[in-house]
Symmetry: C2
Subunit: 325 residues, 2 copies
């Protein structure tokens, strides 16, 4: 399959890395809205201006969209889904139904297949929720994120006056995780589920007490959580906090039995050294599915719920039955 990558930030690089090692995949090019001369590929992939994309529709089987969910994808995915089969990682949960409808209309108009909201959450975590709730309908669901870097929360800290740089780790509260893993179905507030750990580089002479207060009182982002703020040097930030680890767990506790006397716990968890590289790998697997399902004649918008596992694997169905079933 011939793959194009649209957008070359962390996620675009992650997809490139995955495509580079996949044997069934030819990487046609990276498409950027920046000047292509200023962008150099880590793996020597050709870099084109996004304006050249429309003339290359015949040489790309699936275009993987690596823009952000806030402003890029809401426009990018519907626009490109008319000319290309696409995969995106749109992750603004409450906007997904509206995004789905727009992308579906565009893909149908162009006779293409589009898969939205891939990655790990939404994506593999959604799949885990679907399987777990289908097999034990009578139960309760929990998602814990972390320990991992939240880009949005790190950015929010960086916007505070006097802050030069920052990293924020989202961390599940151990005692909550233990209760849920033990089969309980507690009602948990935001504060009871996650805590937030911030590493901040402040400008020399900045009022550290004010910065710490502004972080801890920031509505939505930090006010509802137990938050720790640690001021460190830029060197320490680069040395200790330049990775992009993430992960988390989807846990469902459900009951069966005449009197609901048997409890079952289903857990799917991820521990990732590099969030963008793992997400890029997931996007490439779903691009493979889109490629195959389009060849079978499917059009419109689909999600991870519509994709059978057999479509994701580079192995044949027979090999999968033999080696994994």
């Amino acid at each position: 399959m011939r793959i194009g990558i649209y957008g070359y930030g962390n996620l675009g690089r992650g997809v490139e890395c995955a495509a580079y090692v996949a044997e069934d995949c030819e990487l046609v090019g990276i498409f950027t809205r920046r000047d292509p001369k200023t962008v150099s590929s880590a793996f020597g992939t050709a870099v084109y201006s996004s304006e050249e994309l429309s003339s290359m529709a015949d040489s790309i089987d699936v275009l993987i969209l690596c823009g952000g969910s806030a402003t890029d994808l809401p426009e990018m995915t519907p626009e490109l889904a008319e000319k290309f089969s696409v995969v995106d990682s749109f992750d603004t949960h409450k906007e997904i139904p509206a995004h789905f409808a727009r992308v579906d209309a565009a893909a149908r108009a162009g006779g293409r297949l589009a898969l939205i909201s891939s990655g790990w959450d939404p994506g593999l975590f959604s799949v885990a929720r679907a399987y777990a709730s289908a097999v034990i309908p009578n139960g309760c669901d929990y998602t814990f994120w972390g320990r991992g870097i939240s880009q949005g929360h790190s950015d929010a800290i960086r916007r505070i006056d006097g802050v030069l740089d920052a990293r924020q780790y989202t961390i599940p509260v151990e005692s909550a995780l233990r209760r849920v893993r033990g089969g309980e179905c507690p009602t948990l507030s935001a504060r009871e589920k996650h805590k937030r750990d911030c590493y901040v580089v402040a400008r020399e002479g900045a009022d550290l007490a004010r910065i710490e207060r502004e972080i801890k009182e920031m509505p939505n982002y930090f006010a509802d959580y137990d938050t720790t703020v640690t001021f460190i040097t830029e060197e320490e930030l680069l040395r200790e906090h330049s990775g992009m680890p993430h992960g988390g767990s989807v846990i469902r506790n459900g009951v069966t039995g005449r009197n609901a006397e048997h409890t079952h716990t289903v857990e799917f968890s991820l521990s990732l050294d590099s969030n963008p590289e793992f997400t890029g790998s997931v996007l490439l697997a779903y691009a493979r599915a889109v490629y195959r399902m389009r060849k079978r004649g499917e059009v419109g918008c689909i999600t991870v719920f519509d994709v059978p596992p057999v479509m994701l694997s580079p192995l044949s169905r027979e090999e999968m039955i033999k080696s994994m079933l």
Copy 2:
């Protein structure tokens, strides 16, 4: 969907329990090779002789086959797949391709859809292996079972002279589990992965030392494992070991990055109070998928790899997108 259950042992009762609470499911009857008068349903489901089944093909949408993999299913599934859409839990891993071929031929001849090897292993664990290997192709896989009752190993102990009853727990070796969860890819022998814990009720006056030796030296079943044998009374066995808990974990460690410098761990784990009730719930979810996929015109034999998550859920696709994606 109208469901029939063929075979009424522990698994058949587990399916009945799941079908009883599923709102989209009508339980037509239990079919048994025993005298139906000797079988009484826990939920008041009608019990028929298996001989009556052939006249009821029009009133059953999916027949769930709850026989054993050793002798029942190899004959039962191909035979019934010609007249019914069926789901089975055939779990003799190395015989699956041959079973698949026989069932596929029968289902195609009759224009039916059959799904084999459902449950949790094979079944949900297979699905977990498929997703994990598709998204991180460069990696290693591990499956740990337990802590849980192994029926086959318990039966093997019961066949020893002087043994009245026995329960065998398969238990993952903690240190191995910890290494794998930590991202390592060690080569592990059978002994290094699992240990076996046996609770045995011996006949009065039996030679306990001989029984213990015969257990520990039994080839395939125990000789390759660290095995503990504890002699207990029948009362204690019934009081402490009459449940059927099981579970386990599928773990894949994989790497990404230019120099494979980033490690990712994907884990799917189950902790089950009742193995047959959970397995029965999984079989019912896959029966729902068979019902829907048959209506879409699919015939032949399929496995869990062919089923998209959307087919398993009692929720609509729109509800799933809204609540789980």
